[in-house]
Symmetry: D2
Subunit: 335 residues, 4 copies
């Protein structure tokens, strides 16, 4: 299942070391101003090699829009977007052909499919998110019309919260041949009340699916999240005044539907599974092996998760927004 969304459907494709990575977006409203220049900045942000704390791998991710655009605007037909895989040194990965890296999808893909593209993680590579980020960029372009804005950030790395501490944790882990996890927060502002759909299309359920579907994410919470479990009702309920909600413990969602307050989601990101430190594992014959994963791996994947989480939230919101305006358009008798 490589499609996300019911109305604004994005289907990603591509493996880390295949010919190309991309996405088809079906259901984008017509008339949205769009071109490669609209998408490229989002891809540049997710690219490794653009910060000190991320992997030095140089990827030149030039997006090409193959369809769905006419004279600078969307036409309502599918947008296919493509990024060629340039730097694909498959040789690096030959050692991984038969061995399963702990914490990776190597084992599970092998069990599921009986065949797997071992080069760079194949389909389970973080590189697949190029398609999501490109689709998310289109979604954000649409959300602009409603002044809905999305912003993500790192909250914690390895339990630390100041920038200096976080940086130190990453550097120390890297020098130990190890990695660290972190927490990402993503916020949407400007959402009208009414987004989300009972009972199985709740906005928070859809966000949870979107976020947990990002590689390395092991937890998702909305508003107070897990902290709500330690609160009393009188502390957690958000009182309402004539001006609106006085607090936002709910993270902008009640009963699965947006309240009009900021939508706040947090993601727990596990430490990068690829580490130089030796680990016990097996090969595909079940023989025990010791593995030290060599290569250009981010010591902390949380930084890379930020733009992807933003993209996924944009995809969720445009989808629920389109569902929402459907009834409004019908009610208004639009033709």
């Amino acid at each position: 299942m490589n499609t996300f969304g019911r109305y604004f459907r994005c289907t990603t494709f591509g493996e880390s070391h295949g010919e190309a990575i991309g996405v088809v977006v079906d259901g984008c409203p017509p008339g949205i101003a769009l071109g490669p220049d609209t998408i490229q900045p989002y891809l540049d942000r997710r690219r490794p090699g653009t910060g000190e704390l991320v992997s030095p791998r140089q990827e030149l991710d030039r997006v090409e829009i193959l369809s769905g655009i006419f004279e600078g605007r969307t036409t309502g037909t599918p947008l296919a977007m493509l990024v060629r895989n340039m730097e694909t040194q498959s040789g690096d990965y030959e050692q991984l052909r038969d061995v399963y890296r702990p914490g990776h999808a190597d084992f599970t893909y092998a069990k599921k499919y009986g065949i797997r593209d071992h080069r760079g993680g194949g389909r389970s590579s973080g590189r697949e998110t190029v398609g999501r980020v490109a689709a998310g960029a289109v979604a954000m372009q649409c959300l602009e019309k409603y002044q809905i804005r999305i912003a993500g950030r790192i909250l914690e790395i390895h339990g630390k919260q100041t920038e200096a501490e976080m940086e130190e944790e990453v550097i120390r882990a890297a020098s130990d041949g190890d990695s660290v996890g972190g927490i990402v927060e993503v916020i949407a502002s400007g959402c009208p009340p009414g987004l989300g759909d009972p009972v199985f299309g709740k906005l928070d359920a859809t966000i949870a699916s979107a976020m947990m579907g990002i590689g390395s994410v092991k937890g998702v919470e909305i508003g107070d999240g897990f902290r709500a479990a330690s609160l009393r009702g009188s502390e957690h309920n958000d009182p309402i005044s004539a001006e609106g909600f006085l607090t936002n413990h709910a993270g902008g969602i009640l009963g699965g539907i947006s309240t009009g307050s900021e939508i706040v989601a947090r993601l727990a990101v596990k430490p990068t599974p690829s580490i130089r430190k030796e680990q016990r594992t097996v090969d595909r014959n079940g023989e025990e092996r010791v593995i030290s994963v060599i290569g250009r791996h981010d010591p902390c994947i949380a930084f890379r998760v930020v733009p992807v989480a933003e993209a996924m939230l944009a995809l969720v919101l445009i989808d629920t927004l389109l569902a929402h305006v459907q009834y409004r358009g019908f009610e208004a008798g639009l033709r």
Copy 2:
């Protein structure tokens, strides 16, 4: 969107104080032994009034199977299951016709639909879960064939973990006209490796959606979950030996696909929003009001979440299992 699942699709319907609550299950394999007696025990477990810590409301939830069964076995056609709403004292709720209870879906439903059934929360009532639990019971009956078992439990109430402490917290909150939140854990054992579908049908993403879609749930985590954010890769990765995974920090899922280890999910449940304590709110004209919610409300909803979380996990697993055996059946050339 009141349908869950792609292959084993359950569609719930019904409001708290309408005629009936129910579910249609479409896609259940034929030949499964099933009758009201198979379903009833699950409904009895979710019923209030069966423990000291839950609301004393007496609901007689007798399930009726309207279709899809012939001579005690499923036929492959839709199973419609119905529970009549017996005790529906709408009078209790007249005070809530125009006022929005903080922490509830009253405000958001009103904004979304312009019309709402205010009696007992209408569609957003916990009573809707009758349909999910009935469908979950069918799913569990199917999972039996694969020896997949599901069990949920309360981990924490208001930050406390021993039974005595938890009980005390609930009683104290109730006597204060307040409520408390908690943490629920649900575990599936016996799952074969290979369940789950990249990229947007990941097992953990589907579980996250299923769990976050339960009323009052504000967070979901898999395996180490949020704790993984404070770990190093060498601590979080599960080493593999010839006998299998040596630990289960991953909670049974890698790359969105089951590993064969136990699948472990935890849910943060917010405190029941209906409390006797006075709270600030508004009515539908935007006038400020003070509300004290009177009625038979559980002081801690987490107990009620347990059977629903089990049901939802069963629904997720039968759905992914059916997806999984599809390729296996094709591979084997079954006709």
Copy 3:
């Protein structure tokens, strides 16, 4: 797959001789005036025993609306509608437990599921259409808002076109212990241009699926249909003037999207497969048998297809209309 529609989704359930037949409609816009009295007339029309040319079986199909209505209006939550099966003389069907009636689904259901409810055709009975007609009635109520009207009629019976001839054909066939087929036409007027969705959601493709999915239908055509195959382009193309299309060979659809002209579909209905005349068949052990199907069977099923075809067209149109207004609502910036 017992669900039809992407936005206005109806899921039917029930067997001919089970407890009940019904439907859940999910996605109906809120605020539509609706009650059992709105639905009942549609069910009465499809009921047998209401005309001379249809089976004398007396079914009392009283619809009950279980959910989704509050104070006489839809609330946006699922509408569950139920009709109890009153007259279910299973005894009649005992002879059919093991034998496959030619032209029926008996053989194919047995092969597919390994188990089948043989009583009255079980799920494959025409009685299943009760759910479709009830859902169609809701759809028509919604379409009223747009002044979209649907009307079906019999065009031909056994090749004859006048009422007297058609009646004669039916009576003669019945007295021979045989049956006859016919052609049904269904027309929608008042549709705005723009309904339908390239490439796989074309309006005509969706209509074709809806109509061919009615039991006994073996062919569907739009506008000129099969006659178009014998025409030249200069004859078939509809010229356009400043006042609109001058002809309607296209049947109101071009490129899968409505033109604003009347939408015209025709259905070929096969002769009722249940006939008294002896036919060769086999039982479930593969033993050859001769069968004479006794019971109250319409000698011409086409009459019964008319209200079902109307209902299905209504379901197609409300679904495509909701898809259509989605973009319009977004374009207008509705909240």
Copy 4:
């Protein structure tokens, strides 16, 4: 809605004169031998310029597989396939920027989207079928495993049935600046009984949708089709002997499920709407115009429909086959 299929989902993209045309196939089983050489022959067959009776336009449709293949086999991940649009003389189409060609989607796309790519019909061009044929080629590769074979052919052109007559009709129409319609038949042999899904996933309903969704198709029939409307039950019912069905009036489908006999579908193809003969139309300001469509257009599109109908039937069959083996795999307890 540019996606077809529930299990084996193909999403096409691309406009006639955009950068590229293509398809993403999601849900293809792993382990199927596949490469560009498997797909190319199917594309070559659909290419114009390969016969006397089709347009002389020379398209070099070289397929590129971007993902989903590893060492010559499918991996279970999405297959993205691409064909660059080489010969895109947009200039030819400048005259059509503002005017609506009768019989074409020009008018309806403009009404629906407010914007349209007029070059070569944009998304509504027959060129879009490149993606379908490529996906169909993958489907056929999968169906090979079950010895399911598909073959299409022209039955009639402009009412004529011999090859000489048909050729003459096409040549005469072309020389008149006109075009002719025809009837295409497509047959699948080797299908096991049990394919198709009641009530809304019937095999014939799915075939009807697939075929009617091909541009220019105005009618679909199964088995006897429209002729069944003129038959009696005793003539149309297929008797069953110990050796199987003695006739195949049903076209291989009963109750929406395959019988094991050949599946037979026929399509009515309208005459090519683009003709040199003058026709009345309007431009986008509603001004009346007379149009003579100049360009390289097939005088009879039915020839081009054959490979597309084959591809669509393959897509329907692999999808229903995968649904079918799901239950079989579950029943067998496969892991």
